[in-house]
């Protein structure tokens, strides 16, 4: 989004291709951002609207890149626009269809904690505010069609292939989450009160499935003690990825402060290996969490989480490596911070674009020091987590960098043409 806005501001025409029905990426799932504790959606929603409103940006949501040919300055990109079964031109986003839809399925946007209908927008602030029918779950009962005042429902909509001619391509595919269920010792997927951080973030969010209340899914009780476990799958030479995700220590701190804000009675423990709080203001943020908010940091990665299957209460076994004692801690809720990993689909996209991936599956920079956003293909640029681990401000900065490099390519191409 940042790269699109930068380029649009310079007068370049931008096509913003997004796989899901709405732009916004991961940031819209977050409740707050560190270390400023800004409301995430409050700062990202205006950017989304800017993308929608900009005369120079065309949004191609629910679309995927299929083929790319040509060279810098003159790429031909084939895009598959998947059918929404809703006419984007007609849909007003009123939501009457979803009110009537009888099918409820887990909402991916809420990390499957809440439900959505088979005709849905992923989030209330979706851009574009156009509904989508999830055909896998749709019964084709036709209720939505009947209630839609705009007559936007179109069950016969077909996939559409769009061919574009562009001068430069920017890749910003973000990250996905390491599957913490593979680290069976923590019981994710088996124990109801073991969550992952992004699930917990949705729980904390006022617009989330339970309105920002903190509770245990086993019994709805307000937890009295929550433990975060860092590095689940990250910094692992075995059973995970070897790199640090670079954001977890900070977001766990942020979530801990939020817990203390929401429920001052609830104790919070963060089990970490090394606190990687390297950014501006980060160390102060952690110090504040510890001193002002009473968040307890324990230097240890727990060996195991055990569930009392009658009560759903959890016990963590760990060695406090500063005190040199092995002990257990009871917790009502455990939040795992899984590794943030490059998307598996990067491989396919790399094939389409002719890009190289590094050993982890990130897109490879042309030069990690001096050309971080350039790739082995001239005119194809990368930014954000898909290039390597980073947080939001870094991703935004890199997006601007990629926009600048793209502009360079476009200007050179147009000079060449004259």
């Amino acid at each position: 989004m940042q790269a699109s806005l930068d380029l649009a501001a310079r007068g370049f025409k931008v096509y913003l291709v997004e796989k899901s029905p709405s732009i916004g990426g991961r940031m819209v799932q977050l409740d707050k951002t560190f270390p400023t504790m800004d409301c995430s959606i409050c700062i990202v929603a205006p950017k989304m609207i800017d993308c929608l409103r900009s005369p120079n940006i065309r949004l191609l949501t629910y679309s995927e890149v299929q083929e790319v040919s040509g060279t810098a300055g003159n790429f031909t990109v084939k895009i598959l626009k998947k059918p929404r079964f809703v006419d984007e031109e007609r849909c007003t986003g009123c939501g009457v269809c979803a009110q009537h839809c009888p099918v409820e399925v887990p909402n991916e946007f809420d990390m499957n904690l809440g439900v959505r209908k088979a005709i849905y927008i992923p989030l209330p602030q979706a851009v574009p505010l156009k509904y989508t029918i999830d055909m896998e779950n749709c019964l084709q009962c036709g209720l939505c069609q009947r209630v839609c005042g705009a007559e936007a429902i179109d069950f016969d909509q077909q996939p559409e292939t769009i061919s574009l001619n562009v001068g430069a391509v920017i890749v910003a595919t973000g990250f996905e989450l390491f599957d913490p269920a593979t680290r069976t010792e923590y019981g994710y997927g088996r124990f109801r009160n073991v969550l992952i951080s992004l699930e917990f973030e949705r729980m904390l969010s006022a617009s989330g499935p339970i309105g920002g209340h903190i509770m245990r899914f086993s019994d709805g009780r307000i937890p009295r003690r929550i433990a975060f476990i860092q590095c689940v799958g990250s910094r692992s030479l075995k059973g995970g990825v070897s790199f640090c995700s670079s954001a977890c220590c900070m977001y766990a701190t942020k979530e801990s402060i939020l817990i203390r804000e929401h429920e001052p009675e609830c104790e919070v423990y963060i089990f970490y290996n090394d606190l990687k709080v390297f950014g501006k203001g980060f160390q102060d943020f952690v110090a504040r969490a510890e001193d002002e908010w009473g968040v307890k940091y324990v230097r240890s990665l727990p060996g195991e989480v055990i569930e009392d299957h009658k009560t759903g209460d959890l016990t963590l076994w760990y060695e406090d490596t500063t005190e040199n004692v092995t002990e257990s801690l009871g917790a009502d809720l455990v939040v795992l911070c899984p590794a943030l990993i490059p998307r598996a689909s990067n491989k396919e996209l790399a094939g389409i674009l002719g890009l190289e991936l590094d050993e982890y599956g990130f897109f490879k920079s042309k030069d990690p020091q001096f050309a971080p956003v350039d790739t082995n293909v001239s005119g194809v640029l990368i930014c954000g987590y898909c290039q390597g681990p980073k947080d939001i401000p870094e991703s935004v900065a890199q997006a601007s960098a990629a926009a600048a490099r793209a502009a360079e390519t476009l200007m050179m191409a147009s000079e060449g043409a004259h």
């Binding site: 069976t184 010792e185 590095c231 030479l237 290996n273 240890s300 060996g303 055990i306 060695e319 004692v325």
Partner: protein, 530 residues
Amino acid sequence: METEPRIVAFLCNWCSYAGADLAGTSRIRYPPNVRPIRVMCSGRVDPAFVIGAFEGGADGVLVSGCHPGDCHYVSGNLKAEKRMKNTARILKLLGLGSERLRLEWVSTSEGTKFAQVVTDFTEELRKMGPSLLKAESEVDAPPDALEVISKALKKTNVQYCLECGKCSGSCPISRVNDAYSPRRTVERFLLGFGGSMLSGADLWTCLTCYTCTERCPSDVRYPEFVRACRRVASEEVMEELCAHRGIPMTLSRIMTHPNIKQERMDWVPAEAEISQKGDLLYFVGCLPYFDVVFEDLTLDLLKIPQSVVRILNRARIKPVVMASEKCCGHDVLWTGDVKNFEKLAKINVGEIEETGASRVVTACPECYRTLKKDYPEVLGKIDFEVLHISELLSELIEKQELKYDAKLLMKIVYQDSCRLGRHMGVYQPPRKVIADIPGVELVEMGRNRENSVCCGVNAWLSCNKYSKAVQIDRLKEAKATGADLLVTACPKCQIHWKCVTSEKLPVNPEEVTMPMRDLSVLVAEAMHLT
């Protein structure tokens, strides 16, 4: 070459030693072949002393105490009688000859009898000829400790340790023993204090259960590191911490002797069909010996090989069973005796190859790991495939070459033993074998598969209150599942659990005692083969 027999005599202080003294003061002549060792009671004579004497080159061992009823400690001599009977069985299994061990009652006044006993025994031993173990054992220079440690630090990834403590948080012993922490052990080695660790107990405390290894984010293989260091760690400390006075290891060492001819096939049921050459070999392991050593536990361990052979026969397989089979070497390897392990590996692989077997099946997870993983490490590639019985059984059931006859209406809980589970990753086959039995409901403990908990002792080391705490905790977990039967594929799990529950328990016995069964025995029962 010395041909005179050497006799080690353990004489009780109150009767037989005084009897020997009387023989001396009465100037009664008897052969000078006996080396008397005074013990307070014949009941003090551990089978390990006897077997140790033979390992050290004795041709005969005489144990002598007060006449029954005369014991200074009421019944020590009766205990000795029972122990020596078992010891004689072990000597027979080893092929050393049970006649080389004698138990005689000699009282203070029986100087003549003592002389007579020694004379007779010497004469008999002369007739028998020297013991098979006569050859002097060669003594190698100990390996360089620093070199062994620094090699191990690299090879087992200890150098990548992040000191996150996940190992200690996972270690079942660390949870009950404050003094022990794998992380701190590693830390000391990394800081260069490894030398001081070699004379401590920590290296012998590790259960080598691989829970830490399974979870370590840095892929540190701590149990393998410990194993490597044990090679250069203090043997005295090890011996002090080793249960059963190290008999299993002594037996293994004796089996490396080239002259040994075991008589270990008595367990084979009369109707069973076994062969000397063939495609599938059944590697029995130490069960014939354990049956004697752990007789008190009444586990009927020989039922395991008997069940295996009967099941295989039912599947029309006539397995090769080797009378010359030696200990796989698991326990000597894990107590740091690499030299004898390599010897055993070479002998066993040679013997197996001679039978022409292309598949070797074992019902013991320790044999399984050792043959499959550790043998190729010292010998390079081996020419046969190694299977655990559960793998073979699930294959045979799948192919419908075996089927169950009985219906067992019961709830069964399965224990993943460390070697079969975490070491070798065999989780599913035993479960399939159990769950396929008609009527059986297979239930799981909370901590199962890779999160399973060790039975508390490995390689007979550090059997103490901490291992008992681990065992009781695990048995409670099994019992709490409400299962009728606890099944494991490892004979040693059964030995350790039966042992802990036969003693005075710190908890209500109801909470921890439940029937146990070996996997093969259970299968045989479900096929009406017992």
